[in-house]
């Protein structure tokens, strides 16, 4: 759809025309029934207006046939709307496997974004056209919402958890980014732009904007300065603590028999509330880092852990690792007696 029709915004993602199509269907049905009811009403109101003061029309109790008709038909129409919307929603909801990841932190009243290649942006997001982009988002304070009308998509950004949003941009240009969940004083000011570029231009932009370390490298530095290496090993090989190499997306066996998938939320919880889920065969000795790491730093640590090789690091690969720790550390260095503390 072109923007000379002031009824829809720019269409700049693979979702846009699909959502617009459903929207036009809904509008068409709405218009049809509104006009139909209005026309019938107006016709009846004129045709059956009171002509003499004391007339009384013949009562009609009803008609089961008509009731059935005007129950079933609207229900079927509603079902088409439901099915179409649900199918499209399912597509919007599941991020594809090989998407470029961008980390987003929303806070009152700005957006902080960081590309996996290290570039940081404030209130702006540069993306290449024709590539699938996945945003991994959290909030530092209250609930926000990342809304790009041109892409026809939005998702709440919630403190304490990660939410994702994905899109594939189709048209270069600059598009509005709005916060779409009321977040306080400067909610209307928490806006920005998504800038879609041709691939070559995007590469230029990337190379012209290096300078900050990638989240992965920053995460590795944190991993050392915070002392994680003493229990988990410099490359996440494990020791007094469970192995982190190849952890991401793997199924983890916990004390007490539960099994969980080690996703971003699990990693974050393990850092901020380690007693909540203890890996089978280990004791509750990890201290909490709640309050000592910011949301940005958590993202960097997660990025680092995700990058550790060991099998299931790439999303989509089947979790082949066994639920116990990875390569056995040399017994002399770590000492197995310290492992099963009760």
């Amino acid at each position: 759809m072109q923007s000379w029709i002031p009824l829809v915004p720019d269409s700049a993602s693979t979702f846009s025309w699909k959502v617009d199509a459903l929207y036009f269907y809904l509008s068409g049905v709405t218009l049809f029934f509104t006009l139909l009811i209005s026309a019938v009403l107006i016709f009846f109101v004129i045709r059956y207006r009171r002509r003499t003061p004391y007339e009384i029309p013949r009562p009609i109790a009803g008609s089961h046939k008509l009731e059935t008709l005007w129950t079933i038909i609207p229900f079927l129409i509603a079902m088409t709307m439901f099915a179409w919307g649900a199918r499209l929603y399912f597509e919007q909801y599941k991020p594809p496997q090989n998407a470029i990841e961008v980390y987003v932190v929303g806070k009152q009243w700005m957006w902080k974004l960081q590309h996996a290649t290290g570039q940081r942006e404030i209130n702006e997001l540069h993306v290449p056209v024709g590539r699938k982009i996945k945003l991994i988002m959290t909030s530092e304070d209250v609930i926000h919402d990342f809304f790009v009308p041109a892409f026809r998509t939005k998702t709440d950004v919630v403190p304490g958890r990660y939410t994702t949003l994905w899109f594939e941009a189709t048209k270069p240009g600059k598009y509005h980014l709005f916060c779409a969940e009321y977040c306080g004083m400067n909610h209307s000011g928490m806006t920005g732009s998504v800038i879609v570029m041709e691939p070559r231009e995007f590469d230029n932009w990337l190379s012209g904007n290096t300078g900050s370390t990638t989240p992965t490298v920053a995460g590795q530095q944190l991993f050392q300065t915070l002392g994680c290496v003493s229990c988990h090993g410099a490359n996440g090989e494990g020791g007094r603590g469970p192995t982190l190499a190849g952890l991401f997306r793997r199924e983890q066996q916990l004390e007490g028999g539960q099994k969980v998938i080690a996703d971003e939320a699990y990693i974050k919880e393990s850092i901020t509330n380690p007693q909540a889920k203890i890996v089978a065969g280990f004791g509750p000795i990890m201290p909490t880092f709640q309050g000592q790491v910011t949301e940005d730093q958590l993202i960097q640590l997660i990025a680092f852990i995700k990058s550790l090789p060991g099998g299931a690091a790439t999303p989509g690969a089947s979790p082949a690792a066994t639920p116990t720790e990875g390569p056995a550390p040399s017994p002399a260095a770590t000492g197995s007696p310290t492992r099963n503390i009760r």
């Binding site: 207006r49 009384i56 009609i60 008509l66 709307m81 709440d156």
Partner: protein, 554 residues
């Protein structure tokens, strides 16, 4: 004697419920449901105008893209308070507490409600809640949005959240007691012969509304209480920083607040049934379908709250179930619209003001309801959530629907309530102005919403300005239109034409006693042997088509 005038009209007497006793104490300590209805009428009108003032401030600010009229914190308080006042202190009590209180006993042939003192108590509780909320407004206001989402409301807002929450909490008990009273009254106090299926549809609607009131309101009570406790004691139920879950608040909040919108619209549908039948002199087509659809709306209404959480991290499968159910809940409303329209077929329609409001309701509610389907549809809701499309949708239902029904009912029963007629010419004029002003205000907002204008913004990108200017223009017309009935109703209490017992010549029980009614409603308890909208035909009268003694089924 013409047939219609043969409906028994009692000999008029000078004593009615208004002049039966004089003095402030007789009003403030009354047990008469009719006086309590008038007490409510005064208070909700007061709150309506406060909410309306806030609305004018919003629309004035939004004339220009910059935030140049109000500071952002002020604007945030203004839209929050507009929502709180309009929803909790106007829309939810409006029809049940005024028209419902006044008419339910009369329509079923009873002397009063089941628990008259609890009825008076519910008004005082309403006042107490209102006073506490006004205190919150005057002390500095609330800026969380009427939805009070956490953790902003628990941890970050510096406004009077606890006071406002307390006002809403207390006000909820008023709702619960009203609903309780109605249910017991309808079950146990119908006049002899008044079976369930001889009751006017107004009663069915209020019964369904009362079910929602008693089941849903306690949940908002506990939600607001938990919110207040968390804000005061800093324990994390909803604040993730303290280990809580902010989305839990949204589930608890919307579990009530979605059924609440049916509390607001079902009574209005009941009024519309009365208006359509009585101003076209025909029984409602498909009476039992309309009655059961009220109950269906009440039941289904409790199952759809998750459609407010489609863009939250709610499970996608839960989202699908809620979407399906949200489409299902639209069907009973559609059935009503079709039945009302079919009632008009081969009827005898008069163009009095109440009928104009009823017709307006049917058209505008259709738009409002169908735009709800856009929001029930998952993929489209993702784009439209938190935009002006949602604002337009709910204003179509609440103003184009609920408020139109309320105004129509007020005009219809005004002669019964006050003993005076309102000026018909002005009535029709005002209805037209309100209809035009309303559409001009809210239709552009649908377009602005799809284009991406978010809600709760006090400054916006310039490309949305044209829609906002149209909307504000419409709002001024709407505001002017609302003032007209306010003026002439007050005027009519002193200078209006005296109304006879049955000025519209209708068969309902409430018209078989004088206007205004005596305190005990009926001198003799009626024995009901007729159906709800039975217009007794007589042989000599010109009728539309021939008729027989039985109703005909097509």
């Amino acid at each position: 004697m013409k047939a219609i005038e043969s409906f028994e009209t009692p000999r008029p007497s000078e004593v009615n419920y208004i002049n039966a006793q004089y003095g402030l104490k007789s009003w403030l300590l009354t047990k008469d449901h009719k006086r309590i209805a008038l007490l409510y009428l005064g208070s909700i009108t007061f709150f309506f105008f406060i909410g309306g003032l806030y609305a004018m401030m919003i629309r004035l600010e939004l004339l220009t893209p910059q935030g140049d009229l109000l500071q952002s914190t002020t604007y945030n308080k203004v839209f929050t308070q507009h929502g709180i006042i309009m929803i909790f202190f106007f829309l939810i009590p409006s029809i049940p507490a005024t028209l419902g209180n006044f008419l339910i006993p009369m329509m079923i042939g009873a002397k009063d409600l089941a628990f008259p003192r609890i009825n008076l108590l519910s008004w005082y509780i309403y006042l107490l809640g209102g006073i506490i909320t006004i205190y919150a407004l005057l002390a500095g206001g609330v800026d969380t949005g009427w939805t009070f989402y956490t953790p902003f409301s628990t941890t970050f807002s510096n406004s009077y959240v606890v006071a406002a929450g307390l006002g809403i909490f207390i006000n909820g008990f008023s709702s619960i007691l009203t609903g309780l009273n109605f249910i017991v009254t309808i079950h146990t106090m119908r006049a002899p012969g008044m079976t369930w299926f001889r009751m006017p549809l107004f009663i069915w609607s209020h019964y369904a509304t009362s079910l929602i009131m008693i089941l849903g309101t306690p949940v908002i009570a506990i939600t607001v209480l938990l919110l207040a406790f968390e804000r005061v004691s800093r324990v994390g139920i909803f604040d993730p920083g303290l280990g809580g879950d902010p989305v839990l608040f949204q589930h608890l909040f919307w579990f009530y607040s979605h059924p609440a919108v049916y509390i607001m619209v079902l009574p209005s549908m009941g009024v519309v049934s009365e208006l359509v039948a009585n101003f076209s002199r025909k029984n409602i087509f498909g009476y039992s379908f309309v009655a059961f659809s009220s109950l269906a709306i009440a039941v289904f209404g409790f199952l759809v709250w998750g459609h407010h959480l489609f863009v939250t991290p709610q499970s996608v499968y839960a989202g699908m179930i809620f979407s399906f159910l949200s489409f299902a809940v639209a069907i009973p409303s559609a059935i009503k619209v079709f039945n009302w329209t079919a009632t008009l077929y081969r009827s005898s329609i008069s163009y009095d003001t109440p009928m104009l409001y009823a017709l307006g309701f049917i058209g505008l509610f259709t738009v409002g309801g169908m735009t709800g389907l856009f929001l029930a549809s998952l993929a489209v809701d993702v784009h439209l959530s938190d935009t002006y499309f949602v604002v337009a949708h709910f204003h179509y239902i609440m103003v184009g629907g609920a408020l139109m029904g309320y105004l129509g009912g007020l005009h219809y029963w005004w002669p019964k309530i006050s003993g005076r007629m309102y000026p018909e010419g002005w009535g029709r004029f005002a209805a037209l102005v309100i209809f035009v002003g309303f559409n001009l205000t809210f239709l552009p907002q649908f377009v602005a919403g799809y284009l991406g204008m978010p809600r709760r913004y006090h400054a916006y990108p310039p490309e949305f300005q044209v829609f906002n200017v149209l909307s504000t223009a419409g709002a001024s017309i709407l505001g002017f239109g609302m003032l007209i009935p306010a003026i002439y109703f007050v005027w009519s209490m002193r200078y209006g034409k005296h109304a006879e017992a049955n000025p519209w010549h209708l068969p309902g029980l409430e018209w078989r006693t004088q206007s205004p009614p005596p305190t005990e409603n009926f001198e003799v308890t009626p024995v009901v042997t007729w159906d709800a909208y039975e217009f007794a035909p007589r042989e000599e009268i010109e009728v539309v088509g021939k008729f027989g003694p039985e109703a005909e089924r097509i």
